[in-house]
Every structure is written in C-alpha cells, then in structure tokens.
C-alpha cells in the first residue's frame, strides 16, 4: 500500500512538472512566436476565449506570472485548452478527441504486443544460451534498434505498399467510406492498420527483447534457479515461474523508461503512414503553427506516458513482494 501511495505521489509530482513545463515553454521561446499567433485570433474570438488564449501563451497579459499560472491551471483543470488556430473555431479539446481513438487503437495494441512478444523472445533467448534464437536475435535486434523508426516505415511502404501493393499505406481508413460499425469501414480500418502496426511492432520489440534477455541471463545465474534445477523441476516451469517472473520486474521498469522512446517512434510512424492519430496531429499542428493544439497534444502525450508508467509501477508492486516490503 505504501508503495502504491508513493508511486501515486510521484505521478502527481511529474504531472505537475509536465503541466508547468507546458506553461513555461511558449514563454521561454525566442522571438515570442505566440504573439504573432494570438494576433491572428483577434476579432475572430469572443473576449473570454481571447483571454484564455492570452493566458495560455502569456501574451499581452497585464497579469503577473503567478496570476497567469493560476488561471492556466484552472483552465487546464476544466479542459479548456483554447481554440485551435487551424481548425478555427473548434476548441482544441474537440479536435483532439478524434485523434485519440486512432492512436489508442494502433499504438496501444502494437505496444502491448511488442512488449509481450519481446519479453517472450527474450526469455527463450536467454534460456537457451548459445541456441539458435540467442545467436541470431540479439545482434539482429541491436541493429534494428539502431534503424530510425520512420525509415522502417518508409521501407514497408516501398515494399508492401508500392511494389507488392498488398496493403494500403496511407490514412486510417478509406476516406470516402462512411464511418461506423459497418463491415466496409471496419475492414478498411483493419487493412490500414496492418503496415503501421507492423512497423511499430518491429521497432519497439527490439528494446524489450534485449533488456529481457539480459535480465534473464543475470537471473539465471542466481542461486534459487540453480536450486530449482537441482530439485529436478521441469525446465519450462523453472523458466517461467522462477526466472522469468523475477526477470520481468526490472523489465517492467525498463518498459516505463523506454516508453518515452516508443512514443517517439509512434509519432514518426503515424507521420510516415499519414495515420490520423495524436502524433500525426502534433506534427500537423507544428507545421500549421497551431500552438494551442500543439501544446495540448504535448500535454496529452506526456500525461498518457505518466499514467502508463504508474500502471506499470503498480503492476510491479502486485507481482513483486520485495518492493512492497522494502518500504
């Protein structure tokens, strides 16, 4: 329990840090680009909306910094992220809603799959040291972890999309199909998700396989594993119940740390495949200089990562009594 509370406390602290960072970023930037942007809104938004924008970006505000900050926290807490410049006059929160669904679907599924698969391969590789998997997997994975994510995507587009023409390689679904739970649309969605999903899977899997393997190897040298072997327990049982269960714990923490990198990969893959998720929208906002949207997306992505890490920490607490009792 104390552990969970401590992790929750950490989560709140990092949440606050992210929100504050989001507050200061536009104010710290040279040339104060927000000024020009807010000027574009004049005459097109109501006084109240303009005031929110000015608060968000610290423009023209006669208020002191602490006062701005308080207003900003209030706005964020009520879900008021301002009005989108490019999607004017839609509020940012509405614009973002559409994209979240796509990213959760693609990215969520692919990441979880990558973690499961990567961990699995890592376990097998470590268990059979010197075996086929162990000789091939690590060097291959080392190389794949060095390939830029977007390049993998581009090669997929080239091979499977353009040359072989097996799958569509752009967008989330066929644009002219009517959205809804009809077979045509759902089929189109699944079709469009294959290539970007695979690309994401391949890039993410490398990190976790390697760390899992290394953790497993270290664990396998532990006494209790030797004991289990001496006792004559079945190989698979030792591998899973003894070694893997303990080796996975640092991997779970590693999951948290590497999640940040995988998010980066997801953004690039969405970009290359024009997949209409949150990452793609972020890059669009950047291109269109739609700063309110950009800031909101950054905050959203950060918070999502923080939540994922919190969940991973709680999972660690559940599976590892040591962490619980060590407090």
């Amino acid at each position: 329990m104390r552990f969970v509370l401590r992790r929750a406390g950490f989560f709140l602290l990092t949440l606050w840090a992210a929100v504050t960072l989001n507050f200061f970023l536009p104010r710290m930037m040279p040339g104060n680009p927000a000024v020009a942007m807010v000027a574009k809104f004049r005459g097109r938004v109501t006084g109240q909306e303009l005031a929110s924008l000015e608060t968000l970006f610290g423009v023209n505000s006669g208020q002191s910094l602490p006062v701005q900050y308080v207003h900003y926290i209030g706005d964020i807490a009520t879900g008021n992220f301002g009005t989108s410049l490019f999607y004017f006059p839609s509020p940012v929160i509405d614009v973002v809603r559409g994209a979240v669904f796509w990213t959760l679907g693609l990215f969520g599924v692919a990441t979880i799959l990558a973690f499961i698969l990567g961990t699995g391969v890592g376990i097998v590789a470590a268990w059979r040291r010197g075996g086929l998997v162990d000789s091939i997997a690590p060097p291959v994975l080392v190389i794949t972890s060095a390939i830029p994510y977007f390049w993998v995507g581009m090669m997929f587009i080239l091979i499977f999309g353009l040359k072989l023409q097996w799958l569509p390689w752009s967008g989330g679904a066929d644009l002219t199909a009517t959205p809804g739970w009809n077979p045509a649309y759902v089929g189109s969605v699944l079709e469009h998700a294959v290539l970007p999903g695979l690309a994401l899977l391949i890039t993410a899997i490398g990190t976790w396989t390697l760390t899992m393997r290394n953790n497993m190897v270290t664990t396998l040298a532990e006494d209790y594993v030797r004991m289990a072997r001496a006792k004559g327990l079945k190989s698979t049982r030792i591998m899973l119940d003894y070694a893997a269960r303990n080796a996975i714990l640092p991997n779970l923490t590693g999951f948290a740390m590497s999640l940040g990198f995988v998010v980066g990969g997801a953004i690039l893959i969405e970009y290359v495949f024009n997949y209409p998720g949150v990452g793609y929208m972020l890059l669009q906002a950047v291109e269109n200089e739609d700063y309110p949207l950009m800031q909101a997306l950054f905050l959203l992505i950060t918070v999502a990562v923080l939540v994922a890490i919190l969940l991973a920490d709680i999972a660690t607490a559940i599976f590892d009594p040591r962490t619980r009792s060590s407090e």
Binding site: F10, L13, T14, A17, A18, L21, L25, P26, M29, P30, P33, R129, G130, G131, D134, S135, P138, P139, V142, I143, S145, A146, I147, P148, Y149, F150, W151, M154, M155, I157, L158, L162, N214, V217, T218, A221, R226, A256, M257, L259, G260, F261, V263, G264, I267, L268, Y271, G279, L282, L283, V286, E287, M294, Q295, F298, I301, T302, V305, L306, I309
Partner: protein, 294 residues
C-alpha cells in the same frame, strides 16, 4: 589492458569500431571520396546510379553520394557533441547524487526521475517548433538539455555501488575533498560505464536529430542525412520510383547507429561476463565448473 584485449576479441566490438572509424574518416576527409560538391544543383534530376553518380542524383539535381559523404560531418558533430555533453551532465548529476547521499541524493534523483519520464521526442518537437530551423548548435543544445536523464540514473546506481568500497574509504580517511574523490577516484573506475553512457546518448542523438530533420524541423538548406530524407519525402521519391534517394541516407543512419549500438552491446558484455556469448558445448562444462565451486 585486460579490458582492451577483451574488446578487440569481441566480434561485435570490432565491427562497431570499424564502422565508426570509417564514418569518422569520411567526415574528416570528405573531399578524398566525393568529387562533387554536395550542394551544387548541376546535374539532371532524379538520375539513377551510374559511373559519374554512384547513387544517382536527387530531385534537385545534386549528387547523392557526395551528399551522403559530406552529410557525415553534421551527424557526427551532433552525435559526439550532444553525446559528450549529455554524458558529462549525466555523470555530474548521477555521481554527485550518489556521493552526496541523503537529502541531495533524494532531490537530484527525484529531479532525474521527473525529467526521465517526460517523453523526449514530443518535447523535442515542441521546442524545435518554436525555435524553428534548428541549426547544428541549437540541435545539440536541445538534445543535451533533454537527453541526460536516462544515463544519469545508470551512473548513479553504479556510483552508489562503489560508494562504500575500501579504496574510497581510504581516500576519505586521508582527508581528500569530495571533488577530488569524485574526479580522481570514482570516475576512472566508471570509465566503461561512462563510455557506454556516451554511446547510448550518441545513438539516440543520431536518431532523434535525423528524425527532427526528416519532419522538417531542421535546416532544410544544410547537408545531412536527415535533410536528405526530408527532400526525398518532398520529392515523393518512393512513389516516383527514385528509391535510392530515400534508401541511401536511411542506410547511413542505420549503419552509424548500428556501430554505436554494437559497441554499446559489446561494452555490456565485457562489463557483465554473464552476458558474454557462450557456445553450446561449453555450456555444460561451465555449469559443472560452477556447481563444483559451490
């Protein structure tokens, strides 16, 4: 010395080192290898590979091979520059936290952890978006500012494990000041980990910098692999069938990254003998020897 021997005998390390050395040579003496200026738009557009143009030409009529060779400079400057800077900061914070302990450790660790969980790439994107057209120096600054936390954590753990060793206690008893102990006693024993941290940072700096340039947040007029990919994308090279325009810079990034990753992996193995590759028939013998020592 033992370390060096282990290094040269490790095939991964050797491959990585050779690759890296090759790129460094290219960066230092580009003129020896590429006879064309990378920026001159003299040739016909979108040519395929030929005797005059090893990899063909870009959509703007520039020689791809020359661009790839000259582009090495920017990438290596960023990788080494930002990699070094982040490692220095990571070492400073990680070791200080471990050595000072107590309150300072708590504060610094907390700070590191908070920075660590904030996703790096979106932050880079937002900063690059505001700064706009990041040249090399800005890129290095931004990457350093955001990239040190991952390795700081590792260095802190290592430093922590060293903290109570005898040779440090001896130094303390001798009356050496904290700064002396950190720099002269602790850091040298952590060399291998520092090098590994540098390699990790360098790898991610290469990938992140190229990614930022690819999506257009770098300086499109500069010569680097990331901007080559940016222009290939603009040229719709893949759709038009000019594959080399995209394949060449991507392969370069992958190779350079692989060299860092291989070296890093090799360091891991050298540092942790349990990770070293074993051949099957030796495994049983190893186990027997271990059990007999028990």
């Amino acid at each position: 010395m033992r370390f060096l021997r282990a290094f040269t005998r490790n095939p991964k390390a050797a491959t990585g080192a050779v690759l890296l050395a090759a790129f460094v040579v290219l960066a230092l003496f580009p003129g020896l290898f590429a006879h064309d200026s990378p920026t001159a738009e003299l040739y016909q557009r979108n040519l395929g590979p030929s005797a005059q143009h090893l990899f063909g030409t870009t959509g703007l009529g520039q020689d791809i091979f020359a661009q790839a060779v000259y582009g090495t400079q920017q990438v290596l400057i960023i990788a080494f520059g930002a990699g070094l800077a982040s490692t220095v900061i990571a070492a400073a914070i990680g070791v200080a936290a471990a050595y000072l302990g107590g309150f300072w450790d708590a504060i610094l660790s907390l700070f590191t952890d908070v920075v660590l969980v904030i996703p790096l790439f979106p932050l880079l994107i937002v900063i690059a978006a505001y700064v706009h057209n990041s040249g090399t120096t800005v890129m290095i600054a931004v990457l350093t500012f955001t990239g040190w936390s991952y390795t700081a954590r590792q260095l802190r753990s290592q430093a922590l494990s060293l903290r109570n060793r005898d040779f440090l206690a001896a130094a303390k008893v001798r009356g050496e000041r904290a700064r002396y102990v950190i720099v002269v006693e602790i850091l040298p024993t952590m060399i291998s980990l520092l090098v590994a941290a540098f390699l990790t940072n360098a790898l991610y700096d290469v990938l992140f910098a190229s990614s930022l340039q690819f999506i257009g947040l770098g300086d499109p007029n500069s010569t680097s692999w990331g901007t080559m990919l940016y222009w290939a994308q603009n040229n719709e090279a893949l759709q038009a069938g000019y594959y080399l325009q995209a394949i060449v810079p991507g392969a370069c990034i992958a190779l350079l990254g692989a060299s860092f990753a291989l070296l890093n992996y090799a360091f891991d193995e050298i540092g942790n003998p349990a990770l070293r590759p074993v051949r099957r028939r030796r495994q049983r013998a190893l186990l027997v020897r271990r059990l007999s020592r028990a």
